[in-house]
Symmetry: C2
Subunit: 397 residues, 2 copies
């Protein structure tokens, strides 16, 4: 089966590419390298250097072509790399014509809520990047071959931090959305395009409402230094668990925003890529959009901090937890009830965060803690949700 | 009360501007003239000349500055005109800072579903134009003065042509959306931004789900030749009732797409501008988005054709009705049940289409029928919804 992975140079995309290739899928990897060059591309008014992203990865990551060459040497599998801009319809059209995929996995979106909140320009860059790529894919699939299965990465955050109904029902495409950042808003916009184009042109669409992903090493990325997955730990690109892990390994307090009672859905990188593969094997029917909640645990932010603290203790590291200023506007103590059993019905055996942290995550990362940039580690998000309190347009970054 | 009207050079915007000015509101009119220059701006691959829009208006319309000069002479009211691009946050911010409005009426969106379906580029131009302007307004209001009331023009089309529940409940922000063109999709995307930003920053937002507007003359625009409202009758910019009226006056058959059983909500231009004024007088509370269904009648397309046919007969004109090829993908015979009583509760006395057609519309338009371009009158939409049947990207226009 031919699979085209978009955003293959990113954190989830890279791990997915190797996972699928190792299982015999014929994979084409595509990216525009925007995460590597975001400093240039997103250098907008008042944009501070710490969010450039260039300095953020814990260790250097070779260009995709080089990494895929190493992969071929180690695994025997050839994965061609294509550079393309998905905000151009013509490029998307040509890419799909050329690669003739059975399935397209679409990771190629701006994925940071703090980034999207840095300024109105960052917000609209996020909207443009995400909605244009998704819409172009749908248009091109409708014209070229409506049978192509589109597996698109959405987010649990579409439902918001404070759901207003009791349980978020998995698969209910009409469950009310309550996004809380321009990033989450852009994902809701994507969902509208997916539903509409899927319905009108009878496309095969799977929308994965992924939770917060954590972890870095997978069986494939661990095979060689050249295959290591990208790892961010700064306040804009680093996600909560990974950031807590680095803070613990560096012996600085874990920075919990506010009261820490915010609930989130979580999933390890190893489980996330398995869910994508399960989705490929179980395609959506034409015109009937499938939505799956791609999470395996629901935890409060404070609970995550405690888990990381305890895991660090097994390595002989004692860290404290600090409740810091919360730059987000959110209810700091709420419940999140979500049904998310479908992937387990389809064969997923989920990992628990507690075991993952102790078993692999912290051990892998501890090798790199000497190279950490404390400035990136300590800064919390520079993006502030509180626009009006900041009194005007210049103070948002 | 200070009102900033965005898209003031357009069909609804112009009539609203004069209506509000005549009632003593302090109005600032703003536009970017994109509808006048759309030929240049939207000259995209394979884009046929007939949709340029330059030739479409039934009679020439002077620049806004000139028309507003005439208005001042006739009414004594000064309405300054500002040219601005709303896809630039800085321009939006400066505009609001400079004009200090109490209310902003936002008509400044690409408003044609056929236009949005001409090509993927037209679709994304629509998404960009509409979502960027709306988001920038919300961002700027949040930063400058969250008490500014934003009255935003949405569309009944967000709910789709074939609603899947029995009655579309007025004011229910969670009622499922089923858009059926990139234009309608962009309006649904706007709604997401309105809800999110309104909720987080406690903004005062009214979203008007307007039906298909018909008619051209209002009390104010009729005062002088220079004040006449823009009138389009081609297959891309002309809306159904207005197009049928011109076809009737020119003695050509009324072109009903398909079976003509498609139901739509309608409202006359005179009622539409009254609804906007009612909305200004009844602002939304901070953080509680108001949605109103801005329609006064629900009719099937075939019924509209019959109404126009009968109205033409009173002027001694006999026209036939022709069921033509339907370029849209839609159920050609469905019910549309909508609750829409709120404007009447707030004081609207609606006009009926039958009386409006006989009383003013056809008589006004009959003076111009000699100047009609038959090519524009006869062409149905050049935008074809049936992408895959057209087999590839070059055949969509």
């Amino acid at each position: 089966m031919n699979v085209l992975v978009l955003g293959a140079d990113g954190y989830c995309g890279w791990a997915t590419t190797l996972f699928l290739s190792a299982r015999g899928y014929t994979v084409t990897a595509c990216d525009n390298y925007v995460r590597r060059h975001c400093w240039d591309k997103y250098r907008l008014r008042g944009y501070p250097t710490v969010v450039a992203g260039e300095n953020s990865p814990l260790y250097p990551v070779a260009p995709a072509e080089e990494r895929l060459k190493s992969w071929r040497g180690l695994s025997g599998y050839e994965v061609p790399f294509v550079r393309a801009e998905l905000d151009s319809f013509d490029e998307v059209y040509d890419l799909i014509k050329k690669t003739s995929p059975d399935t397209i996995v679409h990771f190629a979106e701006q994925r940071s809520a703090p980034f999207s909140n840095l300024s109105p320009q960052h917000a609209l860059e996020t909207v443009k990047n995400n909605t244009f790529s998704t819409y172009n894919l749908l248009e091109a699939i409708a014209r070229i071959n409506p049978a192509i299965h589109l597996v698109k990465l959405g987010t649990m955050g579409e439902y918001g931090y404070t759901p207003h109904k009791d349980v978020i029902i998995e698969g209910d495409i009409d469950f009310p959305k309550r996004p809380a950042s321009p990033y989450h808003m852009s994902k809701c916009m994507d969902s509208i395009a997916l539903e509409m184009m899927g319905r009108i042109y009878k496309l095969c669409v799977t929308d994965l409402h992924q939770g917060v992903v954590y972890g870095v090493a997978t069986a494939e990325t661990s095979m060689h230094r050249n295959l290591y997955n990208r790892f961010d730990y700064d306040g804009v690109w680093g996600t909560i668990v990974n950031r807590f892990c680095m803070q613990a390994l560096c012996g600085v307090p874990l920075t919990v925003y506010g009261a820490g009672g915010q609930s989130r859905g979580f999933i390890s990188i190893e489980d996330a890529i398995r869910c994508v593969e399960i989705s490929i094997r179980n395609p959506a029917e034409p015109g009937v959009m499938v939505v799956r909640n791609q999470i395996t645990e629901i935890l409060k932010v404070g609970e995550v901090a405690t888990l990381v603290q305890e895991a660090a203790k097994t390595l002989g590291i004692n860290v404290s937890i600090e409740n810091t200023y919360n730059p987000r506007i959110e209810n700091e103590n709420h419940l999140l009830k979500v049904s998310f059993g479908k992937f387990q019905t389809l064969g997923l055996t989920p990992h628990a965060m507690r075991e993952t942290l102790v078993g692999t995550e912290l051990k892998f990362l501890s090798r790199f803690s000497a190279g950490v940039d404390n400035h990136l580690l300590l800064n919390q998000s520079i993006a502030d949700w509180r626009k009006h309190e900041n009194n005007g347009k210049e103070s948002d970054v």
